[in-house]
Symmetry: C2
Subunit: 238 residues, 2 copies
């Protein structure tokens, strides 16, 4: 029986409203997954991903990076509410760590088995979280931005890194991919990168149309990337 629940917490003086999903009918500690939302804020799509992770036997927690009630309904609103977090990476890192601390304290979470996954903007967030030196087993980016103003912080990364990328994603162009790969190699991170042919931005989000630029749903890439994530979890939680 999957339990889902909103969860209020603070980052400094900012109120945040995250979301839990886990199977409350099963006993025992289990992997904990931080699930970071897209640039529209924590909405139903992320909650469904949390439910899928709970069905897989994890405790899923979606942190609220933008703060309680800050949710976008339109493209301009997305740009507006996410812009400060693309710009001020210290803020973004702090907000992510606040969410991680909530997850770490959950009594059902095995603290040695924590990973973070993120979608689009959330992919950027979980990589910035890794660059803080967060003591987690792995991070997975789904069509996330890879840029950072602080590539030298790659050396802090303890987590294994898996990036799942749309090969023709115009939002994350080849130069950004190349800079990221260089950062990972320079810092000797344990990293893997999968490109899905024909996939553009946001290829996992079934709410989008299946064609169009810059973002569209791609069922094959969605399914394949979910399997790749599960293989990754199998390895890092072994």
């Amino acid at each position: 029986m999957i339990k889902t629940q909103a969860h209020d917490y603070l980052h400094g003086e900012t109120s945040c409203e995250g979301f839990w999903a886990y199977d409350e009918s099963k006993p025992g500690k289990r992997p904990g997954i931080l699930v970071v939302h897209e640039w529209n804020g924590l909405q139903d799509y992320m909650k469904k991903r949390c439910g899928m992770l709970a069905e897989m036997g994890c405790v899923a927690f979606a942190p609220d990076i933008f703060g309680k009630g800050v949710r976008a309904k339109s493209f301009p609103e997305c740009e507006q509410i996410s812009a400060p977090y693309y710009k001020d990476r210290a803020l973004t890192r702090g907000r992510a760590r606040a969410g991680l601390e909530v997850l770490q304290k959950h009594p059902l979470v095995d603290s040695a088995k924590i990973a973070a996954i993120g979608y689009c903007f959330g992919g950027l967030v979980i990589l910035e979280l890794a660059r803080t030196g967060a003591n987690i087993a792995g991070v997975v980016s789904f069509h996330g931005q890879l840029n950072t103003p602080n590539p030298a912080d790659g050396k802090n990364i303890k987590a294994k890194v898996l990036v799942l990328h749309g090969a023709i994603d115009p939002v994350v162009p080849p130069a950004e991919v190349a800079a990221f790969e260089k950062e990972m190699e320079d810092a000797k991170v344990d990293w893997q990168f999968i490109s899905y042919g024909g996939a553009v931005h946001t290829f996992t989000n079934w709410n989008l149309p299946t064609t169009g630029m810059p973002a569209a749903y791609n069922e094959k890439a969605d399914k394949r990337s979910w399997i790749a994530m599960q293989d990754f979890f199998k390895e890092i939680f072994a």
Copy 2:
């Protein structure tokens, strides 16, 4: 009980000696995998991979691209025996198709479930085979060369394509990767590309030392790539 056996066949007037591995104690048709060797010719490493595929329930056949008895024991010999096949792609394609025909005729092979995998030089071969329009379900390249003099032939590809690549493989540099990705996109091939951080050329071959350039064994990338191949087979043989 895995049966292994050498197999003589002809391509035109050239004698070839391939290699079979399959479980003869089990009845029924099953997937058939063409397993194409590195630039040193068909040797023990390939035969062990065939055995692993047979254990997985496939019929594995390693074709002999260079011809019977043509096997290299040194780096200069590798260069010498492989050079004609890097240069004359029509010859290489013909030799690969001759091997595929042997595999297709095996009574235990399900003709709707055929794939080809290749290592280094063999990766180049299975992509050239796909570019002939071979009617097979998929091809998998392990640290293979991606270049072709005939990128327009990408449009013939019917197979799904999975490329497993060492992120810092100096033998297959970024420009070659970029040209390949463009070929795949232009031809609307169903393709995926995985880069393994820290991995150089020949990362799957346990006979190599674990450090050094341009080629070295990388256990993590070896294991991860084998899992990726199994996932791919699960999808294409479903």
